[in-house]
Amino acid sequence: MKSVREACIISVVAGLCGVIAFFAHPKAPAFHVDELEVELEEVLRFEEAFWIDARSDEDFEKGHLEGALSLNEERWEEQIVDFLDAWNPDAPTVVYCSSQACLRSHEVAERLKAELGVENVFVLKGGWEKLAEAGMVEGANQ
């Protein structure tokens, strides 16, 4: 019984620290990411789309969606120049990474929005896996 009581105390302390971290941790993940997400079917209805591949350089070199530009957090400073050169502000920007579990696309989309003021930026739901399922790229997840 003593152990259970102690376990409860430890859990409560850990829970409180977690709550504080949620508000104070500089890298705390966002609770709502759905607002940026868009289904592939919806993207295909856009007149045009500016595709961004947020996966690693290695994955991008193995294969990417035709016309997609590589932009990831590891080489942000270098790649952002290419992005600005190629970016079409009239076309919606759609960012994808490897799968639904991957958060790189959300990070890139949020950074584009916050740092460059890109308004019509979306994250492809399902990422590369969804593109592969639809036959738009070759192979499974890299």
């Binding site: 259970v4 102690e6 376990a7 977690g18 971290a21 705390a28 579990a101 958060l103």
Partner: protein, 143 residues
């Protein structure tokens, strides 16, 4: 025997502390790892990405500094059992998961699950050893 049990438990505590610190350095990376298991919803995973590292830190600190040992052992066993179940289900489903155990971003294929599962089982054995050693010591003191 008691000293050995304590030593093993402290090693397990250090492993928990290390795992918690590494995860807290980048909760988003840990969140991505949780999502690869395809078990929890996004919101539950966000809560876990901040809750689990602190739980590991608290459990690790209690085991290392020998305070609230009973509760820390109970939670350590609970966490390790959950980790083993999560890894096993991922292995059975053939998922390509990021273990997330010590902040690693390397993905484990089915063949790569052996070490993380074995490590968790070893830690469970360590906790068990600590408990048995302490009970034996208490028993001989009572005699």
């Amino acid at each position: 025997m008691r000293r050995l049990g304590q030593f093993v438990e402290i090693i397990v505590g250090v492993a928990f502390l290390w795992a918690g610190i590494v995860k807290l350095m980048d909760p988003s990376a840990f969140l991505s790892a949780i999502l690869t298991y395809e078990v929890f919803s996004y919101k539950v995973s966000v809560i876990a990405s901040l809750g689990v590292p602190y739980l590991e830190l608290c459990v690790g600190a209690c085991l290392v500094f020998r305070v609230m040992k009973g509760g820390a052992r109970l939670l350590a066993v609970g966490l390790l059992v959950v980790f083993v179940i999560l890894l096993s289900q991922a292995a059975m489903r053939g998922l390509d998961v990021d273990c997330g155990c010590f902040g690693s971003s390397a993905k484990s294929s089915e063949a790569g699950f052996f070490w993380p599962i074995a490590r968790d089982i070893l830690m469970l054995v360590g906790i068990g050893l600590g408990m048995i050693a302490e009970e034996n010591a208490n028993g001989s003191r009572e005699k």
